[in-house]
């Protein structure tokens, strides 16, 4: 099996060497070591070898085909301790079609392969039609995207930079340089699971503004979002409202997020955001819900809290090194998430980064304490 993995890594290099102009292959190989710090139990050390392959096919001016997949080889303490449940925890980002495989599922070792983009796109004049597994990205903000009704993502799942896709058909008509009509339909097994919506985006007075309406998993949904500026600062927002069509399919719910970002000439970048969730709680049992960390989110589960706040500061220390700190704070019970990060370019196309995810909250005895932490080191080679 390992031989097969190597073949998947080596093969594209050969294709690239021949430089077929209509087919482009790119991707990366990453190695990530995760150190999970457990306060009572011994710590866990896990390793993840992660290979991404992007096959982009351009048969004509107007037609594009994309097939992208990720191969992940996981081994270590989590893969040992949580066997055989671990495979289910990893195999989560499918949509209607099951495009994932687990060639190795043993105590301590897991190999998981998943196709997360697989579509054909036709682009001519002002039209764009896309069919297949694709990412439908309607969000405007950095941290929380209530407008992402098709495929929401979790801010905690930082290692999945491409984010999951949806099995969908999408038709777009561009009506101006930054305005468009869009219809998207997410394939589902039953009427109640369908997500489909119409979206209109326009550009006016230096603002991109969008409106959409449709059905998401048996809920009527309407929303609006914008991206513009206040002076020299960026100003973005998203509002989405859900109304269940039948009992047992959620409750009436409003999600709203706003953010402001600013970039200083010395390359300090600040982003501040806020999320309101009408169906949230003041003190939910845990923010460490596996569902919330692994990005297989329903957009209504972006945060279990009524109010969530986000602040990120990042700084380009040298052209090779940047660092920063993202903070999520939940004011109702003072739970806190700290996310420091540093990235360093070792060579052209070879990057190293170090990331921390530290959670703090009150425990059952009322003490404010660490609620789980992990440190990640990654090395990434892009090709």
């Amino acid at each position: 099996m390992k031989r097969a993995v190597w073949l998947l890594i080596i093969l594209p290099l050969c294709v690239r060497g021949q430089d077929a102009p209509k087919l482009q292959v790119s991707g990366y190989v990453k190695d990530m070591v995760t150190w999970t710090i457990n306060s009572d139990d011994p710590d866990f050390i896990d390793n993840l070898v992660h290979n991404r392959l992007n096959f982009h096919w351009y048969p004509s001016e107007s037609l594009t085909g994309k097939l992208e997949l990720r191969n992940r080889l996981l081994f270590g303490d989590l893969a040992t301790e949580f066997y055989p449940l671990y495979a289910d925890f990893i195999d989560v980002n499918n949509d209607y079609f099951d495009l994932s495989w687990t060639p190795i599922d043993e105590r301590g070792v897991l190999l998981h392969t998943m196709i997360d983009r697989f579509f054909l796109r036709y682009n001519k004049n002002n039209w764009e039609v896309t069919a297949g597994r694709q990412r439908i990205n309607w969000g405007k903000n950095l941290a929380w995207n209530p407008n992402d009704i098709f495929n929401a993502y979790s801010f905690f799942d930082f290692d999945y930079e491409e984010r999951p896709g949806s099995d969908a058909i999408r038709i777009k008509r561009f009506t101006g340089y930054a305005s468009e009509f869009e219809f998207a339909f997410n394939i589902a097994g039953s009427l109640r699971e369908i997500t489909t919506a119409l979206r209109y985006q326009m550009n006016t007075g230096l603002y991109d503004i969008q409106f959409f309406g449709g059905v998401m998993k048996n809920n009527l949904t309407v929303g609006t979002g914008w991206a513009g500026n206040l002076g020299n600062a960026g100003f973005k927002g998203e509002l989405t409202y859900f109304e269940p069509l039948e009992e047992g399919y959620g409750v009436s719910q409003l999600l709203a997020s706003v953010s402001v970002d600013y970039s200083f000439p010395n390359s300090i970048y600040l982003n501040g955001g806020f999320l309101y969730n009408s169906d949230g709680e003041k003190s939910p049992p845990s923010i460490l819900d596996p569902g919330a960390i692994n990005s297989n989110l329903d957009v209504r589960e972006l945060s279990p809290y009524v109010m969530s706040t986000f602040i990120q500061a990042s700084y380009q220390i040298t052209p090779l090194m940047s660092g920063g700190l993202a903070t999520i704070f939940y004011p109702s019970d003072q739970a806190l998430f700290l996310n420091p990060f540093v990235t360093y370019s070792l060579k052209e196309n070879l990057d190293f980064d170090l990331t921390g995810q530290l959670f703090f909250a009150e425990n059952e005895e009322g003490e404010y304490t660490s609620a789980g932490s992990a440190i990640f080191t990654r090395i990434k080679w892009s090709f």
Binding site: K140, E162, A178, E180, G234, Y262, S263, P265, Y269, N349
Partner: protein, 246 residues
């Protein structure tokens, strides 16, 4: 005799006209930009111990419209930037998302280089946003040049206090430009060299920006293939093209 006088007069008028500093800057700028252009360029960030290289394709129309597509390194390949007047969008193909950038991003360094986004997408215009003053002449790299001082107009959104530009008298090559901050301190020195034919024009094709604080580091831009005054309309600079252009 009359003819000779007339001829002399015409030469004098012509000479005076050519020495109008705004005209000189306009001609030098037009020479490098054209009304529109498209081409490829390589940017090298050079430091004493390492070098990084970025290659890109660019399209631009005047100073208001531009599109930049990164073609290397592999990590950033396919990402793009669209600028229309004061608006800026960034394209992230890996997540199929167009991100609207805050206007303040213009002042930030372009991918860690000694250039700002503003320099790269020509947000400010040396012709429109500055007043021009002829302040001498000298010889640079063997060329007889005018020295022109540029002061930003009050309403212009420009980060510099003043610029000093040295332009060759014969061919309007912008050979040397010094960038000063608002307190009059030298910040960057830009030299242009490697004069050769590109897209039917003879122009400097190598541009070096050296920060005054760190003279052992620099950013180099090398122009590859270029075409000038091509048929590009405003509507070319759209989000749709940002996402599909290759």
């Amino acid at each position: 005799m009359r003819l000779l006088l007339a001829g002399l007069l015409i030469t004098m008028i012509h000479g005076l006209h050519a020495q109008d500093p705004t005209e000189i800057i306009k001609k030098a700028d037009e020479k490098m930009q054209g009304k529109s252009n498209q081409g490829t360029m390589t940017m090298q960030i050079v430091r004493p111990k390492w070098t990084r290289e970025i290659t890109m394709k660019t399209w631009s129309l005047g100073t208001e419209f531009s599109l930049v597509l990164i073609t290397a390194p592999a990590r950033d390949k396919g990402t793009g930037t669209l600028k229309r007047e004061r608006e800026l969008w960034s394209w992230q193909p890996s997540i199929d998302r167009v991100i609207k950038m805050p206007p303040s991003m213009m002042m930030q360094s372009w991918m860690g280089s000694d250039f700002t986004n503003d320099d790269l997408v020509n947000q400010s215009s040396v012709v429109v946003d500055y007043t021009h003053e002829l302040s001498g002449d000298t010889i640079i790299a063997g060329y007889d040049t005018w020295k022109i001082t540029l002061y930003p107009k009050e309403e212009a959104a420009v980060v510099w206090g003043k610029l000093e530009s040295y332009i060759s008298k014969e061919d309007y090559y912008q050979l040397l430009t010094k960038f000063y901050d608002e307190d009059g301190y030298l910040v960057n020195t830009m030299t242009m060299s490697d004069i050769r034919e590109v897209g039917g024009r003879v122009i400097p094709t190598r541009l070096e920006m050296v920060p005054a604080e760190n003279p052992d580091q620099k950013t180099v831009i090398i122009y590859g293939d270029f075409e000038f005054d091509i048929d590009l309309e405003e509507k070319f600079f759209s989000v749709q093209n940002l996402k599909t252009i290759r």
